[in-house]
């Protein structure tokens, strides 16, 4: 199980619903890093407390993602080009504790519409936005794909799709690979006899 380094930033005057965001920041040494920021309100403060022993805000640097800046990963190719074809929402995650646990313990990266790992379609472009819109509707701009990394930091699986709901809170959805349909025809009904 990966060890998660959580750095804590207390923002005294800001508190909103449970919200997961991803952005870039410059570290003290000058290095740009991608960070996952989790903000909690009073109702969800226990989640942030669990995450980083701070009731309002947690922030964590993303680990490196092996070969993600390139065209090596078949998973990233699939996610950036045809996620709506390949994956379907299985259910909304009702128990946020699972997401919190995931965020706290797993090695993952978050992909968004402007992801620097998108080597397949224009960054911030319509194509990927449309794909994300399939899961998050109008909130495609703020949609996040949580991609789990394996022991050697390679992208391994799409774990959750995170959408911002209409009250500005993050909803997590579990996904599963889409099972192709049979064109509305059960296998046992050979409709296509004597076509001519």
């Amino acid at each position: 199980m990966g060890v998660l380094l959580i750095s804590v930033f207390l923002i005294a005057n800001q508190a909103s619903a449970f919200l997961v965001e991803s952005s870039y920041m410059k570290q003290a040494g000058g290095q740009y890093v991608k960070v996952t920021k989790v903000t909690c309100d009073t109702a969800s403060s226990s989640d942030c407390q669990t995450l980083c022993q701070n009731p309002t805000t947690c922030q964590r640097s993303e680990p490196y993602c092996r070969n993600c800046a390139g065209t090596t990963s078949p998973l990233l190719r699939q996610l950036f080009t045809e996620i709506s074809k390949s994956y379907a929402i299985s259910q909304e995650l009702n128990d946020r504790q699972m997401l919190v646990k995931y965020l706290a313990t797993e090695k993952y990266v978050l992909l968004d519409i402007k992801s620097v790992f998108n080597y397949y379609t224009p960054v911030g472009g319509e194509a990927f936005g449309k794909e994300l819109g399939f899961f998050c509707g109008d909130a495609a701009e703020s949609a996040l794909l949580a991609v789990k990394l394996d022991e050697v930091h390679q992208p391994m699986a799409l774990s959750y799709v995170l959408c911002r709901n209409n009250i500005g809170q993050t909803s997590a959805f579990e996904v599963k690979p889409r099972q192709p349909g049979m064109g509305n025809r059960p296998l046992t009904s050979p409709l296509i006899f004597n076509l001519n």
Partner: protein, 908 residues
Amino acid sequence: MAKSLILSLLVFGMATGAFAQVASPTALNKLRITNRAQCAVDSEIPTESAFIVVDGYNAGKMVYSLGKNIGANAETMSTEGMQQFRIAVTRLTKVIMNKLMAGQLPLLPTNLKNSPLTGYNAIAEKCQNKTYCPELNGYLSKIWDNSEGAGLRWESLDKFNGNHFMSMKKTDRVACFYVKRFSALQEQLNSVEVDKSVLLSVAQAALAKEKYLTDCESADTTLDSRNSIIQLDLKIPRAAEFSSMGFDFWNSVKIYLSFAWRYSNIPLQVAPEYGQMFRSIALEESIMMIPNGCKSIEKPECDAATLSMNSIRELARPDGDNTEHKKEVPRGPEDDVVNRGARDVNDDFLGTRSFDDASDWVENFRKNYVSARGSMKNRVQSAIQFLNIIGGAMTPAELTEFVRPLAFAKTYSSQHRDELYYLCTEARLAGDQRLDFMKTGIDKVQQLEVMQRSFQGSQVQLADATRYFDKVAENIVSFCDSLEREKIWNVSGYTVNRSGFHAWARELLQIAPPATIAAADVQPMKFGAPLLVWDASRVSDPGNSICASAIDCSRKLIKSMVDLYAVAKYADAFLPVNSTVSTPDVFNPYADLKACKVYDPWFQTRRANKRLVADLASTALFGWNALPLYIDVDFKPPKVTSLNALIRNGAVKFDPKIQKEKMEVALLADFGPLLGAPCAVSIAPNSAKDFSFYAFNGISVNYCKIRDGGDVVGRSPGEMVSTPPNSKSYCGGCSINFVGVAGGAAVSSGGMPLNPIKLGVYLFRSIHRYITAKKDKVNIPRLQEIDVNQVVATYKRYGGIPDHCVDQLGAGVGCYQNICAAKAADYFERYTGEKVKHLELEELTDGNGNIVPSSGVIIQSDYCDGKVRVRYSCSEDGKKFKTFEKFGGMYGMSKDCRQTIGHNIWGF
């Protein structure tokens, strides 16, 4: 006669002077100029000079996207990011190389069979089927930390011993350049022989070197970092030792580089803003290491990995955008090796100098490479995706049951007949064991580890997919047999629309591509709603269909397997299945040809030696007497007729099928001795033998010369063609025959059996043939070296390259009075580390006052105050140069010099 020699020194007043003025030195290694045979020999020697081809695209794009994210100037950031990436790669590579050479990092063995490193061996075993392996990372991190000063005993990490460490003095041993433009400073890629013009171009390039090279870490913003090529020259003091450990050295560089890129802080130091993010870059697809010349980074083997990797060189040509890699069904790299065979080398066949900037050459190379790689990745990933879809959606039996009603309909439209025609043809080509166009090949793909690795993360594995395909193909082929019996395609007025085949089948069937885009757009026939869709709730949505029908699904299944088969041919070179950077032998096609025994660089040497022995034997038999016979022996080189692909341990090894070397004997009847007439007749099974009866060229006027394509060693400089003769005939001729006349003269002078003139001529002919054969400029290995600094010094001194300097400079030494003196100067400089300032030939006078040459030179330098005599033995061509062992053959001619050398044990 014994002579008492009085030593005297005579300054050899060569007006040209013997002052080795050293120009501003370049740190380039000596340029190793090799001909074809030597190039083949060199392929088995580890290189001391290599290029890193750096493609800044991945870094540039990532930083560009970052700029967009943070609202900064993305273009500027991108340029900066590419530059920092280039410098970070270069710096890290240099650091690793220096650590290895200084013994701060252990060598990681290439050959694990004899390796005593039990820890490393166990990890290698465990990681065998994985591209990346956490256990290896753990092992390497301990080693790396120790190299950074963790202070552990190496023996505590693994069973390291002295053999695992190089022990060169700790200093920067990597001369590193950004190549702005290819020039004579890489003359080894452009010449097979050193002559005056080569030396002149080297001198001129070196004098204007800022046009061609600059520091590899230069932050000059005018340098292209999107496509760049970095030259790394290793300063190896003992080349002989490096040849035994060099391949392990390069293996280690590759492994540590991939590891340290993600682990060490060096990229962060070089790229203060983006270093952290650089860890996510697909480093192994962004850079490539290629040997700078004929030597290798990896020892070439006759296997698919080597041949496919080295086939990358075709993409480096200026016209490399249309290679076999892009074919739908490539024949594979072995085809090029066997059928194309011998070719020219070191004539800038990759067109490095045809581009104004080296970065343009890199751009063309990378564009072709990335395009071929992209096509292969897409093919393999699409195939795997489809195999997962179809495997998850239905069983093979179900799929064929869906095909059955479409195949056996009551009536057929033309389009329907077309659909079935395509299906049956494609199924037969790929899956019919009886015809076996590809079936055996497809079966073998599943045994390849490199292809198995491509299925990592896939639910359906390669073996499952192959089983699925086999069952479907078997059923469909049986359907097709029935359809053929029913002659559904033998209908009047029906002609198949050949444009509808999948591209791979069109290529195999040699059907020209459709003339127009519209003609190519043959959509699969719809039999109602699509059989398979992505989302069953959106059946009619455009783009939602996976297969229009069971026929379409079956054809897509076949295509997927063909794609895997096609990609497998070059998988080692293009699929992301290796955890280290690629190192193809781009500049040396003979790496493959020698490894697969298609070209034997020593054959011509052996042939000359064996022919000499045979000629001498023939001379001994017939040269002394009046018998009008002579036996000519020649040898046809072995020929590789094919490479049999054998799969061992999940990899394809090629086993060359060789037609053995063949001895050819011709009997020559020389009538001159009998008739006193200048005539000779050849009786040989191959009339076009390149044997001349005569000792001297140009005497013969009328002897048989029928060309039959059966040459062994060819016409233009040593062209090595070994095609078997395609005609056989016997022929003779009558010419002015030197030997015959000589023999006749012997007979007419009294009928003595002993014929000294004929013997002499025969003997002369034997030696003449031997010397001629040994002068083969192409197929007898020949090595020359150029020390760029010495060439510049000579050029500056003389304002050009004098004729007498050519051989000396081509031997890798400076220009002095003669080659032996030049070698002595070179030896002195290497021994003392000081430049020769003045050199005189030592001469001796004997008791009669005659000046006789000596094997010694007198040298002045900063090494000591005074002169030093260097004594040596040396052949005329300088090849057998050797100093006397004691004190390196040096003797101080002043007290200071004797003390410096260390032989002034009495203090005077």
